[in-house]
């Protein structure tokens, strides 16, 4: 295996004497997804990629370029230098050396996982789904990947780390007349973990409950937001603590650190070091060590998520939240793993306590709302009506509308004791009162 850390240093050496500062980021990955569609194995893939990203500072401006072309280093440098004629003013210094924190994100069991074993897991998921009903159309995916990132800067940083990831996913489509039911569940993390039983049980549970549709009326309800839908409720918060939005004054939360904004029951952490979680890594896209910090602590705004630039602009320390989407974009602040602290109510008791409400498992289209206004408005793609403490069937054609800012302040009644990880979000169930649901007249 040729060393990507050496390659990063090689590109860096090409910039010497041509600019004031330089930062080279190299990522290499190899993944093997095994996909099932419509009750059958569809495709085995091998996806390899290697990408180079270069930022330079020259004449007080930042230039940026990327390339996936082997042997394309010279034109990469040329493109980045050309962009300094227009680039944003250089308000930052690229990272210097700092100790790479110990991090648990590499599992040797992942690369050595045999294709046969992955196929067998996929078959198992498919078979268990089909056993629920012969009319079911099931899909599944089992995937493994290896990832390596290296960074080198003119300030002397020279670091790399490796991580692995493993995921499995199953989906069920069931059609009765013109009524379609989709149910899915999955697991994703950096380590190989046999989560088949949990995933199968969740899908079976949701399928059984979802087969019967029950009527709903427009009105205000108690809603229990399940982990699969919590991400939609947290989206406005993560948008408003994003350092770029704060720095530019688009976030309504600029200058409000320390302020009590939510119910004291609510604490949310961003943790780039959480063992085995999918967004865990040693350092971020600018070489700043990843970290764990509260974003909301007992209802108070505790930290923004910052890259070098946002930190500089706000007079704060970078938090290790610079992300490079698909390895090729310029670094931007983003959350890593999000961890919501559990509450003290058992989920079963939480459901039992709801007289008239909805258990919301999945929302659709809620991302399209106005995040800076806290607006979360989405179709309840999978949700179950609760009557007198019992889930009684699936609700359809219903739009849930919550203002995340006011709901988590005034209407957060409880958080469950149990938590569940949905990719890089680990969260309890949320019980929110007085939520608006609109539906057909």
């Amino acid at each position: 295996m040729n060393n990507i850390q050496e390659q990063a240093l090689q590109v860096l050496s090409l910039t010497r004497g041509q600019c004031d500062q330089a930062e080279v980021f190299v990522v290499r990955s190899r993944s093997t997804p095994v996909s099932y569609e419509n009750n059958r194995l569809k495709m085995v893939e091998t996806v390899e990629s290697q990408a180079y990203a270069l930022r330079v500072i020259k004449g007080g401006h930042v230039g940026f370029a990327t390339s996936t072309k082997p042997g394309g280093a010279a034109s990469l440098v040329e493109n980045a230098l050309a962009a300094t004629n227009f680039g944003p003013p250089a308000e930052i210094d690229f990272s210097g050396p700092s100790p790479v924190p110990p991090v648990d994100c590499h599992d040797p069991a992942v690369p050595s996982l045999a294709l046969d074993r992955m196929v067998a897991m996929g078959e198992d998921l498919l078979e268990s789904a089909r056993q629920l009903d012969p009319q079911i159309m099931a899909g599944a995916k089992v995937s493994k990947s290896e990832y390596e990132a290296a960074i080198a800067t003119s300030a002397g940083l020279d670091a790399s780390y490796q991580k692995t990831s493993f995921g499995l996913f199953v989906s069920i489509e069931y059609i009765e007349g013109q009524n379609l039911l989709y149910v899915w569940d999955g697991y994703g993390g950096t380590h190989f973990e046999d989560q088949l039983a949990q995933v199968k049980a969740k899908v079976a549970h949701d399928f059984r409950l979802g087969r019967k549709n029950v009527p709903m009326d427009t009105g205000s309800y108690d809603v229990i937001i399940a982990p699969g839908a919590v991400g939609d409720i947290l989206n406005p918060i993560l948008t408003c603590v994003n350092g770029r939005a704060v720095e530019r004054g688009i976030s309504p939360w600029r200058g409000r650190l320390g302020e009590a904004m939510f119910s004291p029951k609510f604490s949310l952490y961003d943790d780039g070091l959480a063992p085995k979680m999918s967004s865990t890594g040693a350092f971020d896209g600018e070489g700043v060590p990843m970290s764990r910090k509260p974003v909301i602590e007992a209802g108070r705004l505790a930290n923004y998520l910052l890259d070098l630039r946002a930190a500089k602009a706000l007079g704060l320390k970078p938090t290790g939240n610079a992300a490079r989407r698909s390895g090729l974009s310029a670094p931007e602040p983003s959350s890593t793993n999000i961890i919501v602290s559990p509450g003290d109510v058992g989920l079963a008791d939480m459901i039992k306590g709801v007289k008239k409400g909805v258990l919301v498992e999945q929302l659709m289209g809620a991302w399209a709302g106005n995040m800076y206004a806290g607006q979360v408005s989405g179709n309840i793609a999978l949700g179950f009506k609760i009557e007198n403490g019992e889930p009684v069937g699936r609700v359809k054609d219903c739009m849930l509308s919550i203002n995340a800012f006011s709901a988590l302040k005034d209407n957060l009644e409880a958080l469950s004791k149990e938590t569940r990880a949905v990719m890089d979000l680990s969260t309890p169930h949320f019980l929110i009162s007085n939520a608006s649901i609109s539906t057909k007249a």
Partner: protein
């Protein structure tokens, strides 16, 4: 290149093999507030091989073309592994298509060719729009301007002898004004896009001024009251509706192996009133959804999905067409070399009708006129999309501006509830694109006139 690629896929121990090589340049200009946030020039280079063996598919993608035969072998090995694990041993039939040898070049007048216009000139265009926004003053707090241009050369060869060397240009973006006040932030945007000249980015000043005004007004607007309404969609939103609510359901990979869905999506069934026709086409030159050949080397066409209210077609890859005994329509598209082609839309359009906008308003006691979109999502028969600028309709007249409108519905009911289609068919283009199976944003277009729909559920406090 031609001989190398054809030789790599010819005579292999597989039922079908294809190779695709892409060399793209992506230019990105992003302005946020007074600053240029990012100007980047990116090179995206790589290739992929897809192989079919005994009903099983295998795929391999890579950045280096060195040792291409080994990469072809890897895709074939993956296909064998797929076939070996399949229990039903069902054959995959690829719909027959003509063998094509062609070279496609994008021809644009020199002064408009985005590939020849210096970066400095492009940056200035967007800085000028940004200046219009930022000079407005309160309540405008910031701006968000983005421009993405991708010019690529994609070379495709398959084991049937097809060889296509195709140039593509895709450009688009949005110019957004951000207004803040009263603890929330509102955005109004101007979208633009195309597949030919840079001129689609010019002359947007009046639209930008209008967006600035709307963003300011939205800050003071009340939120919409949730419930069921008669809605009139502007052409942009009507196009998004056609794409989200119906286009995705028409994609052949949903239906071809799914007898229960095929029963619902039976050609000849009535899906809407006689006034409704929806088609998807790759033939509109200049549209972001324009495409001469898809990523299976199949020539594109204009495919009617609904004609006079009746379901008449769907969007096929060679595999889904072959399975259903229908014709390949040129809808197999891949985002780039990292992905295999899947069934995707091109330019999905609602055909123009006869109604005037004033006629649509008439008789609406309480409704909403919805314009522009932040996007939407679909799952099975359910869809949602959000609107950017909405006015209440009261007693047949446009009334106050309302904010934060998100609509939802069931496609089967909603299509039947389209009771008026406007005569004002409009070829609107915007940046961004469509996402499916992790492949996005793929350039698509959505053209339409105004349409009126009865009984649409809108989220909000009751």
């Amino acid at each position: 290149m031609k001989e190398q690629l054809l030789a790599a896929v010819r005579g292999k121990p597989a039922d079908y093999v294809e190779v695709r090589v892409e060399d793209s340049k992506v230019t990105q200009i992003i302005l946020r507030g007074p600053n240029l946030d990012n100007v980047g020039q990116n090179v995206s280079y790589g290739g992929c091989v897809r192989a079919l063996v005994n009903g099983g598919w295998g795929f391999a993608s890579f950045n280096s073309l060195d040792d291409l035969p080994a990469k072809v072998d890897r895709a074939i090995e993956n296909a064998r592994a797929t076939a070996a694990a399949q229990r039903d041993k069902e054959k995959v039939i690829l719909a027959p298509v003509p063998v094509v040898v062609d070279e496609v070049r994008v021809e644009v007048e020199g002064s408009k060719d985005p590939r020849r216009i210096p970066l400095a000139e492009k940056v200035k265009v967007f800085q000028d729009y940004n200046g219009i926004i930022l000079s407005y003053g309160k309540p405008i707090s910031s701006s968000s301007v983005s421009y993405v241009e991708k010019s690529s050369r994609v070379v495709f060869a398959n084991s049937e002898g097809t060889y296509i060397d195709q140039e593509k240009v895709d450009l688009g973006g949005s110019i957004g004004a951000i207004a803040a006040g009263d603890g929330h932030t509102q955005v109004a945007r101007v979208g633009f896009g195309g597949s030919l000249g840079f001129d689609v980015c010019l002359g947007l000043e009046d639209q930008v001024r209008r967006a600035v005004k709307v963003a300011g007004e939205l800050v003071g607007a009340p939120t919409v009251k949730g419930g069921e309404y008669t809605v009139i969609l502007d052409p942009r939103l009507a196009g998004i509706f056609a794409h989200e609510a119906f286009g995705h359901l028409s994609e052949g990979d949903n239906v071809h192996e799914n007898p229960n869905l095929a029963k619902i999506m039976k050609l000849g069934e009535k899906f809407g009133r006689d006034i409704l026709s929806i088609y998807d086409t790759g033939l509109d030159k200049g549209a972001r959804g324009y495409l001469k050949y898809d990523d299976e080397g199949v020539p594109t066409e204009k495919t009617y999905l609904i004609k006079d209210g009746v379901l008449v077609g769907r969007l096929h890859s060679r595999e889904t067409a072959g399975k259903m005994g229908e014709k390949a329509t040129g809808n197999a598209r891949a985002l780039d070399y990292r992905f295999p082609p899947i069934c995707r839309m091109r330019n999905t359009s609602i055909q123009g009708g006869k109604a005037a906008f004033e006629d649509m308003l008439e008789g609406v006691k309480l409704g909403i006129y919805c314009k522009d979109s932040y996007g939407g999502e679909t799952m099975g028969e359910m869809f949602t999309f959000s609107a950017g600028e909405c006015y209440m309709i009261r007693d047949g007249k446009l009334a106050e501006l309302v904010r934060d409108v998100n609509l939802t519905g069931n496609v089967f009911n909603t299509l039947k509830n389209i009771d008026m289609v406007g005569a004002d068919f409009c070829s609107y283009e915007a940046g961004g694109g469509c996402g499916k199976a992790g492949q996005g944003p793929l350039p698509t277009s959505e053209w339409a006139p105004h349409v009126r729909i009865q009984k649409v559920v809108v989220g909000g406090k009751g």
